[in-house]
């Protein structure tokens, strides 16, 4: 793939429009059952300080809106090339871009593309627009004790934008949660964090050196931030993405569990999430290399063993069967039988 094919990024401006904060998101997913208690709407914010090799949302890493090129959808109509003012865009099936030149991500080719082969990954939106979408599923939250979850990327790279939405949620009583990698600036984020009802906190590796190797940054700030969140008394769930051969040794898992037990009093438990490769097509669309092709997801036996390690350390394991928060209603097939 030629160089220009690496996803172009739009110049990012943070502006106030009609008194509202703007932020960059790449998706709002409605009806998720695995991103916090109950039915969740998940707002994916762009921008992440880490570069985890297994990242399943590669479009979340850059803070700016990007143009994704999805080859399979391309009908080679040439509309993109016609629309491009600097004669750089080409149909995806012809490589997506001509040789040489730098794409400024003006978006003209996306607008022109009839087949959605060229698509914006990420867009600049008002906080009010996001809040409006979140509020649409109010009835689903009420019935399930659910709410909204901010994910990413690292959502706390946009703390002011998030804070404004969180305030809006609080006004109408929507439960709020975040999925964070922990690598955020505490001073800038504290006000937003204090508005959260639930925090899902990733701990990818306990060893700072190894952490830097696999994510591009040390875990020092991350562990500090975990303790600070716990100190605020916000219920938290620690999550470990389990990647075969990278962090799935029992020692690491045990060390994580002990850290949770000893330092995070507000933690409800640990959820170990098996690595998956569902993000692969997005790597291709962004012209990015995926480095873990050779790795297979951990099997159920391995996951079971690791959950055993967590339990042994005296920390609760959270699974799809436990719910995020102890559930008063247990499934019972024959209630009277």
């Amino acid at each position: 793939m030629n160089e220009a094919a690496v996803a172009p990024e739009k110049g990012r401006r943070r502006v106030f429009r009609g008194g509202m904060m703007q932020g960059v998101i790449f998706e709002i997913e409605r009806w998720s059952l695995s991103d916090g208690p109950g039915t969740r709407t998940v707002v994916f914010l762009k921008g992440c300080p880490l570069r985890c090799q297994w990242c399943s949302n590669p479009e979340s890493q850059s803070k700016k809106p990007q143009i994704g090129i999805f080859t399979a959808k391309c009908i080679q109509c040439g509309k993109c090339a016609e629309a491009c003012s600097i004669d750089l865009a080409r149909p995806a099936k012809d490589g997506g871009f001509a040789e040489g030149g730098v794409c400024a991500a003006c978006g003209d080719c996306v607008e022109a593309c009839p087949s959605r082969s060229r698509r914006w990954l990420g867009k600049l939106v008002d906080s009010g627009e996001v809040l409006e979408t979140i509020r649409r599923d109010m009835v689903f939250y009420r019935k399930s004790a659910g709410g909204v979850t901010f994910s990413g990327g690292e959502p706390l790279t946009q703390p002011a934008f998030m804070k404004e939405i969180l305030e809006g949620c609080r006004k109408v009583g929507i439960h709020t949660a975040v999925e964070t990698c922990g690598a955020f600036n505490w001073e800038a984020s504290e006000a937003a964090v204090r508005l959260l009802d639930f925090v899902m906190f990733d701990l990818k590796h306990m060893d700072p050196v190894r952490h830097a190797e696999i994510t591009g940054a040390s875990n020092k700030v991350i562990l500090e931030n975990a303790k600070r969140v716990a100190a605020l008394g916000i219920p938290m769930l620690v999550r470990i993405p389990v990647i075969t051969g990278i962090n799935d040794d029992p020692e690491n898992i045990r060390a994580t569990a002990e850290f949770v037990r000893d330092h995070l009093p507000s933690a409800v438990g640990i959820e170990a999430l098996p690595y998956h490769k569902l993000g692969l097509t997005k790597y291709a669309a962004l012209g990015m290399e995926y480095q873990l092709h050779h790795i297979t997801p951990p099997d159920e036996a391995r996951m079971e063993m690791l959950r055993g390690v967590i339990s042994e350390a005296g920390v609760a394991c959270i699974t799809p069967d436990t719910g995020y928060i102890p559930d008063p209603v247990q499934p019972k097939l024959k209630a009277f039988g």
């Binding site: 997913e29 409605r30 009806w31 998720s32 059952l33 695995s34 109950g38 039915t39 709407t41 009908i75 109509c77 509309k79 009839p114 087949s115 959605r116 649409r136 599923d137 009835v139 689903f140 009420r142 019935k143 399930s144 659910g146 998956h276 569902l278 699974t319 799809p320 069967d321 436990t322 719910g323 995020y324 559930d327 209603v329 247990q330 499934p331 019972k332 097939l333 024959k334 209630a335 009277f336 039988g337």
Partner: protein, 814 residues
């Protein structure tokens, strides 16, 4: 269940020889053995019933029609093979073996004469036919019925212009009620059958006869009616006795003491019911099945419903349990046996009909949950066992429906979700509030309406109602095609619709839309014409002496169901197909042609003519336009407009009993044949592809998750469509794993119902599983899927239907 039956039960001695069977593994094996026997049985056409009717009719020439039909019914009860199969606890077949389809020559025989050579090999729902039965058909049945079937009379009476678009065109399907009986009733077990039994009904008819006089002109029809009632009662009572005798004979020969004891109880049960009221759970189950066989012997058609099974069975269950006469496991086993018997029933259909209703289904609905007439919630122990039965039996019938109310116990809803998660398509979830509203709109008292039940797939119904819930279906997408093509079919060029103006000359979107509604009204007129003529024919030719016994009001008034004898009469329902496609198409035209001027009308029409070939950009532009099912008001409001119009347009017409027609927006597999006759549509759908199913979004176009789909769906004013509305959601198992997933499903359903949705059901299957099943049907012979409001064995469906199931949107949220 009323007080009288409960009291009766308490007074009678309960004498099971097979009490408290330890049926742990035994039950399991019995259910599995019966199921395997079912799967090994080939669907077969049986002429026994047709022969009985033919011979009886030859002897009753000149008598009143209702009496002739009652005598023919009695003859069938007296002559058909009585078959008790190994392991059965509930007995009775409506033909010479398992899975028999019965030809009903008084309605229609011509199709079989034409399809006799192909029926064993046709692509959808082929049937075996025995050479002897084939001979009977040719030599005994055809010669008598030639010129005498309802079909022939209908074809002679329907106006030419209605026939032109109403037969074999898939514009409107008028065949439904002249090629099949009506069905569509729910026997009143609570208030009539269980408390009384057929002997008491017969006695009452006799007593009435004694008060009537041949010299009173008003009494003449009633005399015929009550005489027919007596014949029908004697018929079904005889059938019970024949089974009793057969079971006694089998018991005599049986060497296994356990089976011998079972057969003796079966014999005792059949001596008791259906003649007299059942006294215990087993007798009640057997009575239920005899009543259903009577239905199947009377008519060949869909939708004889069991009704609110848990409501009327629970008193027997509680009483048996209280006296220690019945274990929970044995009760479950009996329910499983009943389940398998219901699955055996087949609605025999011509080739064309099998396009619409694929899967050998009898559409026998069984409903649990909901509320009682006093408003209290109705879930009980039997409700839980009914939800357990499909999991243990795993066959596509009966259609299990559950009615959910805010007060429905959470553990019951979770049990239902657990069943749905198994991916067999059951149960169908229904909203009590909206179902009650629909019944009230159809004319019921609010308290009666609370005891509503389900009919067929998703139709709200009540045991005290007579109606034609599926008078037929019509193709709304054809109206859109005509609007854009001056009333001509895009595929054949024929002038089928009104010759409205050239679409290039529409001055505004509003004008286009009004023209569209004009074309829809044109179809609706033919819907009404065909139904009214068919109803008159049914009154003349196929009154329903046996079925009138099962519905309150007929015996009291001395009037048959067809003449308005039922306590409530509700007008006929017509099913609209393709509302979502029309709304999507109109939205795309409004946006691209009238608002943004991206496409000219001329370009659009050319692209449609060419099925988008060579117009790829226009095609993509249209596909990109807003689609119903994504919580987008710009298009969702159009769907509401289409569906509201369906109610308003149809309800202007009145049926033969003076009742307004009503609207239904459900599925069956109507969307496939109707799609086949419509060319490319402005929503981007290509020529011949299936239309959207029922009230669901067009497959693959709802891409914003189930909450968005449900919010779109809930915008439809469901209470205006007493013919039922339908929403299928396909979910991948990974999304709903664990208790988290189960609770998530339950909350999803409750939320949808709070928003005003009426029905939803889930297809929880991996697409690769379905593809594999297509390649290796032998490995998947019990893979049950929800087709469109009903369930079928996947490998028995045609390739086309299979592909359609696979194509539906998969809501994957990972």
């Amino acid at each position: 269940m009323n007080g009288a039956a409960a009291q009766l039960m308490e007074q009678t001695e309960y004498t099971h020889p097979v009490n408290n069977l330890d049926s742990g593994t035994g039950a399991d094996n019995r259910t599995r053995r019966l199921k395997n026997a079912y799967l090994d049985a080939t669907p077969t056409i049986c002429m026994e019933r047709a022969l009985a009717f033919t011979q009886s009719f030859q002897e009753t020439e000149g008598e009143a029609r209702t009496l002739r039909l009652a005598k023919a019914f009695r003859r069938a009860c007296e002559t058909i093979t009585v078959g008790i199969f190994d392991d059965e606890l509930i007995v009775g077949t409506h033909g010479s073996g398992r899975r028999m389809g019965a030809l009903v020559p008084e309605i229609s025989w011509k199709w079989l004469a034409e399809e006799l050579t192909t029926i064993q090999t046709r692509p959808r729902d082929p049937y075996h036919i025995d050479p002897e039965h084939e001979r009977l058909f040719r030599e005994e049945i055809i010669p008598y019925w030639k010129g005498r079937s309802l079909e022939e009379h209908a074809l002679a009476r329907l106006p030419e212009d209605t026939k032109r678009i109403g037969i074999g065109r898939d514009i409107l399907d008028t065949e439904m009620k002249w090629r099949s009986h009506v069905g569509e009733i729910t026997p009143d077990f609570q208030d009539i059958l269980f408390p009384r039994g057929f002997r008491a009904i017969c006695d009452e008819a006799q007593a009435k006869l004694e008060t009537l006089r041949y010299d009173n002109i008003d009494d003449l029809d009633k005399i015929d009616y009550y005489r027919a009632t007596v014949e029908a009662c004697e018929g079904i009572i005889t059938l019970g006795r024949r089974y009793a005798a057969h079971a006694e004979a089998l018991a005599e020969k049986e060497t296994d003491p356990r089976r011998k004891a079972e057969l003796m109880t079966i014999a005792a049960n059949c001596r008791r019911v259906p003649e007299h009221p059942p006294r215990n759970f087993w007798e009640a189950s057997q009575m239920l099945w005899f009543v259903m066989i009577g239905c199947f012997l009377s008519e060949n058609c869909p939708a004889f419903n069991v009704g609110r099974f848990d409501m009327f069975m629970n008193p027997f269950y509680q009483a048996d349990r209280a006296r220690g006469a019945l274990s929970q496991a044995f009760a479950q086993e009996l329910i499983n046996c009943l389940w398998i018997k219901i699955a055996e029933f087949i609605w025999l259909l011509p080739q064309n009909g099998s396009k619409y209703y694929a899967g050998y289904s009898g559409f026998t609905n069984l409903t649990v949950g909901g509320r009682n007439i006093d408003g209290s919630q109705a879930v009980n122990e039997v409700s839980f066992m009914a939800v357990e039965a499909p999991a243990q039996v795993g066959l596509p019938q009966p259609s299990l429906s559950v009615i959910i109310h805010p007060d429905t116990p959470e553990e019951f809803l979770l049990a239902c979700c657990r069943l749905a998660r198994k991916g067999i398509g059951f149960p169908a979830f229904h909203n009590d509030r909206v179902g009650t509203q629909m019944m009230m709109y159809a004319g019921m008292r609010p308290d009666d309406a609370r005891e509503w039940t389900l009919l067929g797939c998703v139709v709200p119904h009540h045991r005290k109602v007579y109606e034609w819930t599926d008078a037929g279906g019509y193709n709304m997408a054809a109206a859109l095609e005509w609007t854009l093509n001056q009333g001509r079919s895009r595929l054949t060029g024929e002038q089928l619709g009104l010759p409205t103006k050239d679409a290039r000359h529409f001055a505004s979107f509003e004008e286009l839309k009004e023209t569209f509604f004009e074309q829809v009204r044109h179809i609706m007129k033919h819907c009404a014409v065909s139904t009214i003529i068919e109803q008159k024919l049914h009154q003349e030719m196929v009154p329903r002496p046996y079925l009138s016994l099962l519905v309150e009001g007929c015996l009291e008034s001395g009037k048959d169901l067809v003449d308005g004898g039922a306590r409530y009469n509700v007008g006929p329902g017509w099913i609209v197909v393709g509302a979502a496609d029309c709304a999507n198409g109109l939205a795309a035209i409004r946006k691209n042609v009238f608002e943004e001027n991206k496409i000219t009308m001329d370009q659009l029409l050319k692209a449609l003519d060419d099925d988008f070939v060579g117009h790829e950009e226009i095609h993509q532009q249209l596909r990109k336009s807003p689609k119903f099912g994504n919580d987008d008001d710009t298009v969702d409001r159009l769907v509401v407009e289409m569906t509201d119009f369906n109610d308003r347009g149809l309800s202007q017409y009145k049926d033969v009993l003076g009742q307004p027609f009503h609207s239904a927006i459900m599925g069956l597999t109507y969307n496939i044949p109707t799609g086949a006759v419509v060319g490319a549509l402005p929503c981007g759908r290509k020529a011949g592809e299936p239309l959207a199913e029922g009230c669901s979004p067009h497959p693959g176009t709802d891409v914003s998750g189930p909450t968005a789909t449900m919010r779109s769906e809930a915008k439809v004013n469901h209470e205006l469509h007493p013919g039922g509305t339908l929403l299928n959601l396909k979910l991948l198992p990974s999304v709903i794993e664990g208790h988290r997933g189960l609770a998530g499903m339950a909350a999803l359903i409750r939320s949808y119902f709070e928003l005003g949705g009426y029905h939803c059901q889930f297809n929880v299957i991996r697409p690769e599983t379905l593809r594999d099943a297509q390649e290796h049907p032998d490995r998947y012979r019990d893979l049950v899927v929800r087709v469109a409001g009903y369930c079928a064995i996947f490998t028995e469906l045609s390739r086309e239907v299979q592909n359609e199931i696979i194509r539906r949107t998969t809501h994957e949220t990972l």
